[in-house]
């Protein structure tokens, strides 16, 4: 596995929706490359015959009747919104000018 390049970090940051300045990229990409190289050793012992474990304790799905139960009121749900209007979350425009 190859180490992480600065351009990879820039692309990943965009995917993760985190703006990064040149200074951020300079600082973080070196540290991230070291971490990625260190964790790559997981592949050394992961043989074909070893099953994957996603959860530590075996569990079964939980079902309940499909019935209405008390939940947050609309006011409570909107109380912490940065902006709300007509009982809904208000956001800046979704499409940019180029669209």
């Amino acid at each position: 596995m190859s180490s992480l390049e600065r351009s990879d970090v820039a692309r990943l940051a965009a995917l993760a929706r985190i703006d990064m300045t040149d200074a951020d990229l300079d600082r973080l990409s070196g540290q991230l490359a070291v971490i990625v190289d260190a964790v790559a050793k997981v592949a050394e012992v992961a043989g074909e015959d070893v099953p994957a474990t996603s959860h530590p304790i075996p569990m079964a799905n939980i079902h309940r009747e499909d019935e209405v139960r008390p939940s947050l009121s609309q006011d409570d749900a909107l109380a912490a919104a940065p902006e709300a209007e007509d009982g809904r979350f208000r956001v800046p425009q979704i499409l940019g000018e180029e669209a």
Binding site: R27, L32, V42, A77, Q93
Partner: protein
Amino acid sequence: MSEHTVDWTRATAARMADALAAGEVTSVELVQAHLDRIAAVDGPVHAFLHIDAEGALETARAVDADRAAGKELPRLAGVPIGIKDVLVTKGLPTTAGSRILEGWIPPYDATVTRRVREARMPILGKTNMDEFAMGSSTEHSGYGPTCNPWDLERIPGGSGGGSAAALAAFEAPLTIGSDTGGSIRQPASVTATVGVKPTYGGVSRFGAIALASSLDQLGPCGRTVLDTALLHEVMGGHDEMDATSLNEPVPACVDAALEGAQMDLTGVKIGVVRELSGADGGYQAGVTQRFDESLERLKGMGAEIVEVSCPSFEYALAAYYVILPSEASSNLAKFDSVRFGLRVEKTTVEKTMLATRAEGFGDEVKRRIILGTYALSAGYYDAYYGSAQKVRTLVQRDFDAAFAQCDVLVSPTTPTTPFKIGERIDDPLAMYLNDIATIPANLAGIPGMSLPSGVAPEDGLPTGFQILAPAHEDARLYRIGAALEASLTAEWGGPLSAQAPELEVAE
């Protein structure tokens, strides 16, 4: 003894509960004593992010009134508590140590918050933590670090440094923590307090702000094993609001702690994990010395000590730092500037998200989100996330083989005593090594405890002793832990926490 000579902040939670029941003290007095202590020392310690003096006193007054009226009350009713800021508390600010949630007031209670309220425990406030519980030093809090009451220039561990420091500074007798890779046990180790990570699913995580959902577990923190057991029984139990909650009775932690305090471990087999024992080097001399002495004490109480080997643990740290960032990158996607938290307004919603997350998240959170996004991306998934999940299987098999030979496993909790603030902040890998001995338990979902084993002779700072038990066998931690604690405190003439240097008291 006149009441003026009793400093209630030094008492155990069990003692406070008994004194309340006997009418020796009121809950209002207990709460006020702790609020006074917080006012006196929390400036420099900075264990708390938010204090709810009025709310705590209101609960205390109601408990005192009910007690005076002869009503039956839960055992810990009236005993104050601090709650890690990772748990949502209705009406009380909750940030998980992040600027992105600054000022957020949750509209609901976490299940554990509800249980604490039902136990009638006054909530003193919310304790500081590394941002979204990412860290081992509390230096990654968006609101400034917490300092170790044993030496204010040193870290109190993390991510639950606030919950541990509050105990060590006598600002609260009990606190709640969360442990994803050691965030309860490692802070306990470096502050000479006790912390337990229960079996995965033993405590409901509904309302706990998620870091890595397959690893996270909430747990109790105290200054003694019995106090920790009392809180464990308040927190634990099935909850239909958490799909991973175990549907089984709460372990009998208190009974186990009382049994352990009898100091008879005849027939108990204790395994020393070679790979976590420091036998291969890398552990501070005083940490190893206190660990070895503790083993001798356990042997002296009748336990049989065996050495076991868990060869896959060598890969546990790497697997953890693939799985955790992967799950965290997904869990933290909800901080998108739309429904709650920070919004840095730009012309479009996408630009707003980019700017909000850039400003709201700290460097460690950014590092881990990027790492997780990478590990989950097409072309890399099998090599990283897929492999890490296989390592998880190997770690579980190692534990299964080890527990076939003994009842509990033990190790030092963390390789060193607390280090200086700033020492490892620019070296993420060095920081990650603090959790080398605690991470395997999270990968396997098993319960673990850290309790004080002494202070290292070379620096006079606390060392911790870790006990691990098979899944669902949390009670074993309390039995063995209480036995070791009883033996050690007999020699020390009281709990180790009493030996912490006196903090300067603000005017």
